[in-house]
Symmetry: C2
Subunit: 303 residues, 2 copies
DNA sequence: CGATGTCCATGCCGCCAGGTTATGGAGGCG
DNA sequence: CGCCTCCATAACCTGGCGGCATGGACATCG
């Protein structure tokens, strides 16, 4: 009997939620669609997987048997997918470089140029990741190497080489009262609403809210964004302010948004990262070396 | 990205055959359908999996990566399917009893009756297996316990308890010259064409061709069948003759087919079998005990 | 050199599975 | 008693999959 992984994901979602309606919302499908799919799965297997009641869907015994194994199968497929895509990019002589906005900013172009020089025939394919994914696609296998900002969740399982540090500044609406100040002590920003990254990004989000430099003072969240354009809009609209690397002032200049130096927050560290599985991958090593070289020459100037 | 296991099976088939046309035949689909499916898989993955040429389809590097892992994934799904179905039958208090035609013949009904007595509330669901599958569904998880004839392929990995032995006779067309004889020495049948089981059944097929009792004399195959009705038709039509357990004379009597005793072939051994995983399954053990009890009383009379 | 055979690709069509919206029915709850 | 929650059903639409027929490229052979 054949099955679509989509159907399995549907099943797992319903099993986890114990509720068709919630699972449907989580899966971005309508509830009747889920009803039909689950029913069809039960028909194909010739057994009931759930017992229905007004309070939701409870797994039956065979349902539990399936629910125990299905996640591993889905993970297995994801893994295969990652490996196949990695092989595809290798075969096409493409290095997939993930980066989060502000990853290396000015350094990015020289790094790619140096890489092209050192690896003729290869192409660095830049892939911007959302802030919901601050490993820039490394942890989900969408990138071979990544330009990131530390700290980020999952960095312990990856190889991380620091490149340079850079002071953090604050981005605020041009109309903001503090926008006229030349330098702002971070303490003066404690009560300001902040434009934050999505919750999934964990320590990364906390770092850009400077949670450690607030001496316990709580954070006010004015908006949540996961990409630069939303972020700039939110700031320009006055939904909140945000910390950013100094280079953002040049890289993400925009009418209505001003950047001001801040005292009392640690500088941001940029790094290049890759998977342990790629420790012996000469192309990845070359890219990392390009990063180090450029970081120690051109970029210090930019700072 | 989601995928249907059917699509993966298609891919694996093409990878193994190295040829769309042959793979299509093996999968019982048309060649254009396969062409489209493979092309779609490549589109979804964003990479070529095969290089096409007049001589067929050769795996690319990413194709090889996928082809290495896909079979394990498919096997994993099959395994999950087996376990889920097993759980389903357990939950429904159904014991799935596989049998090959002639499995236990007369003994079958008393066994089931005894099982119903010993396990009220449970139901023995009989499932006849084709001769292409002489473990009667045990090895593919479609049965919890099986009534079989020894030897059969894969029996070493299963628990097998012999029940009784029974002489083998020969089934031939009523019009066959030898049909008038009372008892036939097997040697007289060496040059007759035989109606055989499919090749997959390996040692089982050989046993019913009495390969060991021919002193090296080659077998002539007149027809290949995988179920009793085809088998009886083939014999009645004179395509060949075949060995069968004595009880087949009563169980598979049919106009145009006669059964005669044969000397010089070993008797057939009937057995009950189950999976090692079910060693501790009390229902399976009960069924096996029912088989032993009935085999040692009622069936000896039948013989 | 043309005939033939073997590959894979393409075009066209019918059908079904999966999705959506709207609605119904059955219980819990304030 | 009205309302909310949750699952099931109905009606409808669309896209994907499969089938057949056919085309195009190339090798082989008489």
């Amino acid at each position: 009997m054949d099955i679509d992984t989509r159907l399995l994901r549907y099943f797992v979602a319903v099993a986890e939620e114990g509720n068709l309606t919630h699972a449907a919302r989580r899966l971005f499908v309508s509830q009747p669609a889920l009803t039909k799919q689950i029913k069809q799965l039960e028909t194909q297997l010739g057994t009931a997987l759930f017992t229905r009641s007004r309070s939701g869907m409870t797994l039956t015994e065979p349902g539990r048997a399936l629910a125990e194994r299905a996640p591993a199968l889905l993970a297995g497929w994801d893994q295969i997918l990652r490996e196949t895509k990695a092989a595809a990019s290798r075969a096409a002589r493409v290095l997939r470089v993930g980066f989060v906005a502000s990853g290396a900013n000015e350094a990015t172009q020289p790094i790619v140029a140096e890489f092209s020089r050192r690896r003729p025939g290869w192409r660095a394919q830049m892939r911007q990741a959302s802030w919901a994914n601050p490993s820039a696609g490394l942890s989900d296998g969408e990138a071979d190497v990544a330009l990131v900002r530390l700290p980020f969740p999952g960095q312990d399982t990856l190889r991380v080489t620091p490149l340079f540090t850079e002071p953090r500044c604050v981005a605020l609406a041009a109309a903001h009262p503090l926008a006229t100040r030349d330098v702002i002590p971070f303490r003066d920003l404690w009560d300001e609403p902040f434009v934050a990254a999505p919750a999934e990004s964990g320590p990364w989000r906390d770092y850009w809210l400077a949670a450690d430099e607030r001496e316990g003072h709580p954070v006010r969240i004015g908006a949540v964004t996961d990409q630069p354009d939303d972020w700039l809009n939110a700031i320009a609209n006055g939904y909140g302010i945000a910390l950013a690397p100094e280079s953002a002032a040049r890289f993400y200049a925009r009418p209505g948004v001003v950047y001001r130096p801040v005292t009392g927050v640690s500088p941001s560290r940029a790094a290049v990262a890759w998977t342990p599985a790629d420790d012996d991958n000469p192309v990845v090593r070359d890219f990392a070396n390009c990063c180090l070289e450029v970081g120690s020459s051109g970029c210090t100037v930019a700072l």
